[in-house]
Amino acid sequence: AQTVTQSQPEMSVQEAETVTLSCTYDTSESDYYLFWYKQPPSRQMILVIRQEAYKQQNATENRFSVNFQKAAKSFSLKISDSQLGDAAMYFCAYRRLVGGGADGLTFGKGTHLIIQP
């Protein structure tokens, strides 16, 4: 079974600084997807960024970027120029590439990100 580990239950960063959230995973599959989801307080879970395992290039979405190390099974999220609106729970998630069927996400336990003004 796949597992996803987020070793930082809570992180704090000053506004405008850069922060990196860690995620490691364990799988025997070679093709899969990795995601970072954001859940603001009392608000809906939204996708921040996704990475296809077959792509060597790290995904980037504006201030958000990932460092995907397939051999090390590591998938960290870097947030540059942190803003107050970035305060949220961040979840790392994994989904295997399933031939012809559906499959759910396997989530880490989450990292609570605090932005200090």
Binding site: Q44, E52, A93, L97, G99, A102, D103, G104, L105, T106
Partner: protein, 114 residues
């Protein structure tokens, strides 16, 4: 934009009651999912469905069942609610095909079982 809605944001039920949590998506997605979210445990998959009337167990299906009679609607059923089912329940949907990878989540239903 994809919209996933859940019938209630907050629900209070008594032990032993039968509880229905409803989820509706408006994007004609084939795949729908139910997760529960607990502090310190993240999200865990309860059940998912890849087509009408089709369902698969997730990681923690015990004590739950599901129903999918129409493509847009996926219901989670607690046959006899227990206090250890107090949790946040999140519904999600995703289009079909291996390369449709993004799941869209509903706002969640916070269930308290007394």
């Amino acid at each position: 934009d994809v919209k996933v809605t859940q019938s209630s944001r907050y629900l209070v039920k008594r032990t032993g009651e039968k509880v229905f949590l409803e989820c509706v998506q408006d994007m004609d997605h084939e795949n729908m999912f139910w997760y529960r979210q607990d502090p310190g445990l993240g999200l865990r998959l309860i059940y998912f469905s890849y087509d009408v009337k089709m369902k698969e167990k997730g990681d923690i299906p015990e004590g739950y069942s599901v129903s999918r009679e129409k493509k847009e609607r996926f219901s989670l059923i607690l046959e006899s609610a227990s206090t250890n089912q107090t949790s946040m329940y999140l519904c999600a949907s995703r289009s079909g095909g291996d390369f449709q990878e993004t799941q869209y989540f509903g706002p969640g239903t916070r269930l308290l079982v007394l």
